[in-house]
Symmetry: C2
Subunit: 162 residues, 2 copies
Amino acid sequence: MILKSQVEWVLHCCAILASLPDGRFLSTKSLAELHGLPKEYLSKALQSLSQAGLVHTSLGPSGGYRLAKAPGELTFLDIIEAVEGGGRTFVCNNIRANNPCRPKGYCESSPCAIARIMWEADEAWRGKLRSVTLADLVATLAEEVRPDIWAGTFEWVMKRTG
Amino acid sequence: MILKSQVEWVLHCCAILASLPDGRFLSTKSLAELHGLPKEYLSKALQSLSQAGLVHTSLGPSGGYRLAKAPGELTFLDIIEAVEGGGRTFVCNNIRANNPCRPKGYCESSPCAIARIMWEADEAWRGKLRSVTLADLVATLAEEVRPDIWAGTFEWVMKRTG
């Protein structure tokens, strides 16, 4: 079970979009260039963010993307679910109902113990991802990325915003 | 990101194997029949358990599978990793290194903040799955499954063990 590469891509892109001043947009082309990613595939991933209402889009030559919410209101889980979907990682097909030792047509109404444990694990994963916002990420990056690279990247981005 | 159906299958099969008396084996055919599963596909999933050292195999007409460890020593995570592999659910491709604003060839030696958060979430998922043993599952099932079905299933299985 491995997440799509696009999850990594959009998390990095959102970290960049979080630094845009109000009303400015950054193009797919620039986001792709900054991260060394194939523009066409990145474009599809960014469209998933748009469909989930996490980013606003502007069309035209200076068009692109900007966050639709404040970085403190966007969690890792929001961003990941935009790309991966919001379904649970374990799907219960209720195979206990196939047991030939059961009365015909009988099945408990409550979920199977196996599914419950799997869903608790799923929720532990989601809980962690829900607890970290884009603002938390940007604060960590601001501490960890070398100041000249951090400032240089901001300058590079600002030259390209529409 | 969805786990394979085989994860559900082998968890149910291990719950049944946990009840076998010492030295008895249950065939793929019986496990498939009990759970209403396609024998050939189930066979592959059970071979994954064998390759991971979680079950012993016996060949011949009365052959089949039995647990290689006590149910209290087998965790959900052991069983799931046998089918899904033990790799992390998030793979970091270190795309920060592609940033054209970085000095050529420079990259931090420590993992990216995004990867660290994703790996913490992965570990929250694994931690939950590591905390539940097959013995815990069987104890829950023994409480929840209707006594006549529980006893009938045990009888059905015992008739078929080799």
